[in-house]
C-alpha cells in the first residue's frame, strides 16, 4: 500500500497544531515555548520580553550615598574613550600629576614612570597591558616587561615573556593563604625549597637597551644565598618589602634559584633605567575587594621601595556571576575600604578606576549583555566619584550593550564564546582605546600651558 498520504497528513496536521499552539502561546505566554514559537518574529506581544528577569532579592543594602559637588558631574562616566575625574570643566587633565610626569619624560628628563594595572582574568596573559605597554613605551620611551610573578596558572599564554619554573614553589595567594603571609599586589607570595624560575623578556626590541633585572621579595631575617644565572649571590632583605637589583646588562633573560623556605618572594621585574613601565597584576576570579586584606604598612613599604605613578583598577566581570543580578550595592560597601587603602598607601599615584567590559548571558536562547551591567557600571562610577579617582568606561568604549556578542561573532573574532573574555585581538583594541584616552588627557596639559 502507498503511504505517501500519511506524510502529507502528518505534516499538515502537525504544522497546523504547532501554529495554533504558537498563537496560544503569544496570548497566554508559555515561557518555554518562546524560543520555539513559530510566529515569534512576526507577532509581537505587549508583555515585556517574555523572559522573567528577577533581580536577586537577597540584598537589601542601601545604595552608596554620594555627595553632590557643584563643580562635578557624575554623568560624565557614560562617555566612551574618555578619562574623567567628573569635573564639569573637562579642559584640564583628569590624571593631572600623572600627566605632569609624562610631560617630564617627554621633555627629556630621565625618570621612571610605573603603572600598576590591577585586574582579573580579563588581563591574564598580559592582555590589554601588553599593548598598552608597547604604545606607552613607543611614545615615552622605556624598555622592559615590568613585573613577572614567580609562577602563573597559564604561563604559555603570555606572549610577552617565556616563563618556565619548577613545580615545587609553594604559592600562598588570595584564594589559599594558610600561613597568613603578606601577599604582594599580584595576590601571591612564593616560597622555594629548592626551586627556580626563568623569565625571558620578549618585549625588548632595542638590543642596546640595558635592562635592570630585580627580585621583589619580603623580609629575610638573615642574609640569603640565592643563585642567579648559575652564580651564587648573597642578598640582604631587611624591609617587609624589598626590591633587589640582581643583574644590570643587555641580557633579557634571567634564571633565579632559591633554596630557603623562610624567604618570601613575589617575582622579578624588568626595567630600563628610564622610561615608562606597565606592571600586570592579574588574578582570576577576583573583584578587587581582596586588596583590603593586605597590610597597610606592607603597602606603604611597596610605595617607598617600588613606587607607582598610576594605578588602574579594572574589575567587575566576576560580580556578574549570576545572569539576573541587578543590585551591586553590597559590592560598593566592601570594595570601598580596599580602594581607600590602596589610595592612601600610594599617595603619589593617580588612581584610575575602569568599568567592567561587557559580559553577556544566555537569556532564553539569546546572548545579551548582563541585565545588571548598567547598574554595576553606575556603582563603579560612583565609587570613583566618591573616592576622587579617575574613571574610564571600557563598556561604552567597546560598543555598549551586546558588544561582547558582536566581538565574539566577528571575523576574525575579538572575544571568546564564553561572552566574558575579549581575546588577544580584542584586548589589543581595548588597550589602543585606553592609550588614546590617556594621550587625550595628557595633551590637555600642554594646551593649558
Amino acid at each position: 500500500m502507498n503511504s505517501n498520504f500519511r506524510v502529507r497528513n502528518f505534516v499538515l496536521i502537525s504544522v497546523t497544531l504547532y501554529l495554533l499552539l504558537s498563537f496560544a502561546a503569544s496570548w497566554v505566554g508559555f515561557p518555554w515555548l518562546k524560543r520555539v514559537n513559530l510566529i515569534a518574529n512576526v507577532v509581537h506581544t505587549t508583555d515585556s520580553s517574555g523572559v522573567d528577569i528577577v533581580a536577586a532579592n537577597g540584598d537589601t543594602s542601601a545604595p552608596l550615598q554620594i555627595e553632590k559637588i557643584a563643580s562635578k558631574n557624575l554623568e560624565l562616566y557614560k562617555l566612551p574613550k574618555f578619562i574623567t575625574n567628573f569635573n564639569s570643566d573637562t579642559s584640564r587633565p583628569a590624571l593631572f600629576s600623572f600627566a605632569q610626569k609624562l610631560h617630564d619624560l617627554k621633555s627629556g628628563k630621565k625618570r621612571k614612570i610605573r603603572i600598576g594595572y590591577f585586574g582579573d582574568s580579563m588581563i591574564e596573559g598580559d592582555l590589554i597591558t601588553q599593548m598598552l605597554r608597547r604604545l606607552m613605551q613607543g611614545e615615552f620611551g622605556g624598555n622592559g616587561v615590568g613585573f613577572v610573578p614567580i609562577s602563573s596558572p597559564n604561563p604559555g599564554a603570555r606572549a610577552t615573556i617565556i616563563h618556565t619554573f619548577s613545580n615545587g614553589w609553594e604559592d600562598e595567594n588570595f584564594k589559599v593563604n594558610t600561613t597568613k603571609d603578606n601577599l604582594y599586589l599580584s595576590g601571591h607570595t612564593f616560597r622555594g625549597a629548592d626551586d627556580w624560575v626563568r623569565v625571558k623578556d620578549q618585549t625588548v626590541k632595542d638590543s642596546n637597551a640595558i635592562i635592570e633585572k630585580s627580585l621583589l621579595c619580603g623580609r629575610a631575617d638573615h642574609s640569603v644565598e640565592i643563585n642567579v644565572d648559575g652564580r651564587s649571590v648573597t642578598i640582604n632583605a631587611p624591609d617587609v618589602f624589598n626590591r633587589i637589583p640582581l643583574v644590570n646588562d643587555h641580557a633579557t633573560a634571567i634564571k633565579v634559584a632559591i633554596a630557603d623556605e623562610s624567604f618570601p618572594v613575589y617575582g622579578l621585574t624588568f626595567e630600563s633605567g628610564s622610561g615608562i613601565f606597565v606592571d600586570n597584576f592579574s588574578f582570576r576570579g577576583i573583584t578587587g575587594v581582596e586588596y583590603n586584606k593586605i597590610d597597610s604598612n606592607f603597602l606603604k613599604t611597596i610605595a617607598a621601595n617600588n613606587p607607582y605613578d598610576l594605578i588602574v583598577f579594572q574589575y567587575g566581570v566576576n560580580l556578574m556571576f549570576r545572569p539576573n543580578d541587578k543590585n551591586f550595592n553590597w559590592y560598593a560597601k566592601i570594595v570601598l575600604p580596599a580602594i581607600h587603602k590602596l589610595k592612601n598607601a600610594f599617595p603619589n599615584a593617580d588612581f584610575l578606576m575602569t568599568s567592567t567590559a561587557d559580559r553577556a548571558f544566555n537569556y532564553g536562547g539569546e546572548y545579551k549583555s548582563a541585565v545588571g551591567i548598567d547598574t554595576l557600571i553606575k556603582v563603579q562610577a560612583e565609587l570613583a566619584y566618591q573616592t576622587g579617582a579617575g574613571f574610564y568606561n571600557h563598556f561604552e568604549t567597546m560598543g555598549g550593550h551586546d558588544a561582547i556578542v558582536r566581538w565574539a561573532s566577528a571575523t576574525p573574532s575579538l572575544a571568546n564564546k564564553d561572552y566574558v573574555h575579549p581575546n588577544a585581538r580584542g584586548a589589543d583594541i581595548l588597550a589602543g582605546y585606553l592609550f588614546e584616552a590617556i594621550m587625550n588627557d595628557y595633551k590637555k596639559l600642554n594646551k593649558k600651558k
Binding site: 500500500m1 502507498n2 503511504s3 505517501n4 498520504f5 500519511r6 506524510v7 502529507r8 497528513n9 502528518f10 505534516v11 499538515l12 496536521i13 502537525s14 504544522v15 497544531l17 504547532y18 503569544s26 496570548w27 515561557p31 518555554w32 515555548l33 518562546k34 524560543r35 520555539v36 514559537n37 513559530l38 510566529i39 515569534a40 518574529n41 512576526v42 507577532v43 509581537h44 506581544t45 505587549t46 523572559v51 582574568s121 591574564e124 596558572p153 597559564n154 604559555g156 599564554a157 595567594n173 588570595f174 589559599v176 588574578f283 582570576r284 576570579g285 556571576f321 545572569p323 548571558f361 544566555n362 532564553g364 536562547g365 571568546n416 564564546k417 564564553d418 566574558v420 573574555h421 581575546n423
Partner: protein, 546 residues
C-alpha cells in the same frame, strides 16, 4: 494583546545573512508544509512535480545563502551541457578536453571561493609579500555540489552513466534541498533514476523517515548545540585557561558534537528524502564503534570517503601503481614534514630529517614486509587522498594536519595487520581485544579532532600540552559540581551511540502501522524538549586553578 508585524512578515521571505535558512528555523516548518502540500497535490504530474521541487530547492538555497543561488544554477547549466557534449563526442581527445574543461570549471570555482585567501596568506608568508586578502564569502554547500558535479561528468566520461537529458532533472539532482547545505554527497547514478518515479512510499519508509528526521534533529539541536554552547566553545577558545582534565572533556564533548552535528544533519536529509520517495545511501554508521582507523573511515562520512576513493584514490593509482601525482604530493608531504619540524617546532635539521625519514620508512614498511614494490605507491596514494580530503574540509593548515594524521594512521594500521594478522588470529575477536581496539581508535580520532577544531595550530598544541602536563585530576569534584548537566548530555550521547545501527530498523519493522497520533505526540515531545534546552539556564565556566 499580540500585534501582527507585516513588514517583519514580508521580511521573512527574503534572505537574511544573520539568520540563514536551516532545518531548525521556524520558517522551514512553513516552507516544508507548503512544499509537501504542493508536492502531494501534483504527485501524479511528474513534470509539474519536478518543477515545483526545483523551485522550492532553489528558493531554499536562496534563503540559505542569498545571491549564491546563482552559482548552483550556473554550474548546473555548465555541467549539463558539458556532460551531454562528452556523451555525444566520439573523439577520445575531444572528450578528454571537455572533461578537463569541466574539472577546471568546477575546481576553479571551488578554489576561488574556498582557497584564495589561504594561498594569499601562504604567499605573503613565503615571499614576505603583503597581498591583501580578498573579501570572499564561502557559498553554502559549494564543497558538496562541486564534488557532485565532478563525479557526474567523470562518470559520463567513463561511460558509466548516461547524462540527464532534461535540464530540470540535473538541476534537481544538484539543488535537492534536503542535502544542499551539508550533504551527504549524492551520486547521480543513484539519484537521477529516482526523480521521475511515481511517488510511492511504504509504511516502513514513513516510519523510518520520521525516525531519521526526529533523531537527527535531536542529535543536532539538543545534544550538539547544548554541548557547544555550554562547554566546548569555552575551552576551545582559550584552552590555556583550563586544566588538562577540562581540556580532555572538551575533546570528548567535541567528538560528540561533530558526530551529532554532521550525522544529525545527514539523517534529517535522508529522512526527508525518504518521505519524498528518494533513497539516499546512509552517511554515518556509529563511527566511534570502530575497532580500527580503517573501519572508522568506512563508517564516518561514507559519502565523502567513497567519493574520494572513486575519484581521487583510484585515479592516483589506487593500491596498484603510482602516478606523477602520487610522487608529487608525497614530495610535498615529506618536504612539509621536514619544513614544519625545523621551522614550526624549531627542531635541528638532524632531528627533522630523522622524523621525516622515520615517516618515509612507515610508508615503505608494508612493501618490505610483503616483499613487493606495489605497496609503496598504495600507501602514498592513501596519504595523498587523506591530505586532500582533509583540505576539502576547510582552507587551513589544521585540516591538512588532520588529514596527514589520519593518512599516517591508516598506514600504521596496515603495518599492524601485516605484523599481527596471523599471530593475533586467536585473540583478535575476543571482546576485550575489541574493547581495547575501540578505545584506542576512539582516542586517536579524538586526538585528531583537536587539530580539526582548534582555531590554529598553537591552540591545538596548548590543548595537547594541558592534557599531557597539566592534567590536575584533583579538580574532578569541583569540575563535576559545575558541569554535571554537560557531563549528563555527553553520557546520553555516548549511550545513544552505543546502540547497534540495526536496532532502530528492527524496532520500526516490528510495527505494522503506528497511528498518526503517536507520531504527532512524539513530534511535540521533541519540540518541548528542544524548547526546554534552548532556553535552559546556561552552564557557566569556572576557574579550577589560580
Amino acid at each position: 494583546m499580540p500585534t501582527f508585524d507585516l513588514p517583519a512578515f514580508l521580511q521573512e521571505f527574503v534572505y537574511d545573512q544573520h539568520n540563514p535558512l536551516l532545518f531548525n528555523n521556524g520558517f522551514f516548518v512553513f516552507f516544508f508544509a507548503a512544499f509537501i502540500a504542493l508536492y502531494y497535490a501534483f504527485r501524479n504530474n511528474i513534470k509539474t512535480r519536478r518543477y515545483i521541487f526545483c523551485a522550492f530547492s532553489l528558493y531554499f538555497f536562496y534563503k540559505a545563502s542569498g545571491e549564491f543561488v546563482a552559482l548552483v544554477i550556473i554550474s548546473a547549466v555548465v555541467d549539463f551541457f558539458l556532460s551531454n557534449a562528452i556523451y555525444r563526442q566520439t573523439n577520445k581527445g575531444k572528450r578528454t578536453f571537455l572533461l578537463i574543461l569541466s574539472i577546471i570549471f568546477n575546481l576553479g570555482m571551488l578554489f576561488y571561493f574556498k582557497y584564495t585567501n589561504f594561498f594569499i596568506a601562504i604567499s605573503n608568508e613565503m615571499f614576505h609579500a603583503s597581498f591583501n586578502p580578498l573579501n570572499i564569502l564561502l557559498p553554502v554547500g559549494i564543497s558538496f555540489y562541486t564534488f557532485e558535479n565532478l563525479s557526474y561528468t567523470i562518470d559520463v566520461y567513463r561511460d558509466e552513466l548516461k547524462p540527464a537529458t532534461k535540464f530540470s532533472d540535473y538541476l534537481l539532482f544538484l539543488s535537492f534541498f534536503p542535502k544542499l547545505v551539508m550533504g551527504p554527497i549524492v551520486r547521480a547514478h543513484d539519484f537521477l533514476p529516482q526523480i521521475n518515479e511515481p511517488y510511492k512510499i511504504t509504511e516502513t519508509d514513513f516510519a523510518k523517515g520520521f525516525f531519521l528526521i526526529i533523531s537527527g534533529m535531536f542529535k543536532k539541536l539538543v545534544i550538539s548545540d547544548y554541548l557547544t554552547l555550554n562547554y566546548v566553545n569555552y575551552i576551545f577558545d582559550d584552552p590555556g585557561r583550563y586544566t588538562g582534565l577540562e581540556n580532555l572533556f572538551a575533546v570528548y564533548c567535541y567528538a560528540a558534537v561533530i558526530y551529532c552535528d554532521f550525522s544529525g544533519y545527514s539523517d534529517v536529509a535522508l529522512g526527508i528524502a525518504r518521505w519524498l520517495g528518494f533513497k539516499i545511501p546512509v552517511n554515518f554508521l556509529s563511527p566511534y564503534q570502530s575497532k580500527n582507523i580503517t573501519e572508522f573511515w568506512r563508517r564516518w562520512h561514507i559519502s565523502l570517503s567513497s567519493w574520494l576513493k572513486d575519484y581521487l584514490y583510484i585515479p592516483l593509482g589506487g593500491n596498484r601503481k603510482g602516478t606523477v601525482a602520487t610522487y608529487f604530493f608525497a614530495l610535498l608531504f615529506f618536504g612539509g614534514v621536514f619544513f614544519s619540524c625545523s621551522y614550526l617546532f624549531n627542531f635541528s635539521y638532524i632531528i627533522s630529517a630523522s622524523i621525516t625519514a622515520g615517516l618515509l620508512l612507515l610508508f615503505v614498511l608494508p612493501a618490505m614486509i610483503k616483499k613487493g614494490k606495489g605497496g609503496i605507491p598504495a600507501g602514498l596514494n592513501l596519504l595523498t587522498t587523506m591530505l586532500l580530503g582533509g583540505f576539502w574540509h576547510g582552507a587551513s593548515w589544521n585540516f591538512i594536519i588532520w588529514g596527514a594524521l589520519h593518512g599516517t594512521a591508516l598506514t600504521i594500521h596496515k603495518i599492524w595487520m601485516l605484523i599481527t594478522g596471523k599471530a593475533f588470529a586467536k585473540i583478535n575477536n575476543r571482546w576485550w581485544y575489541n574493547a581495547i581496539a575501540i578505545i584506542i581508535t576512539f582516542h586517536f580520532v579524538c586526538f585528531c579532532w583537536i587539530f580539526f577544531k582548534a582555531g590554529d595550530l598553537p591552540t591545538g598544541m596548548i590543548m595537547v600540552k594541558q592534557i599531557a602536563f597539566d592534567f590536575k585530576g584533583n579538580v574532578w569534584s569541583a569540575f563535576f559540581n559545575n558541569y554535571w548537566p554537560v557531563l549528563g548530555m555527553l553520557a546520553l550521547a555516548a549511550v545513544l551511540h552505543a546502540f547497534p545501527d540495526t536496532l532502530a530498523d528492527k524496532v520500526i519493522s516490528s510495527f505494522t502501522r503506528i497511528p498518526l497520533i503517536i507520531y504527532i505526540l512524539v513530534f511535540f515531545a521533541f519540540v518541548a524538549i528542544y524548547g526546554y534546552f534552548k532556553s535552559a539556564e546556561q552552564v557557566l565556566p569556572i576557574y579550577l586553578q589560580f
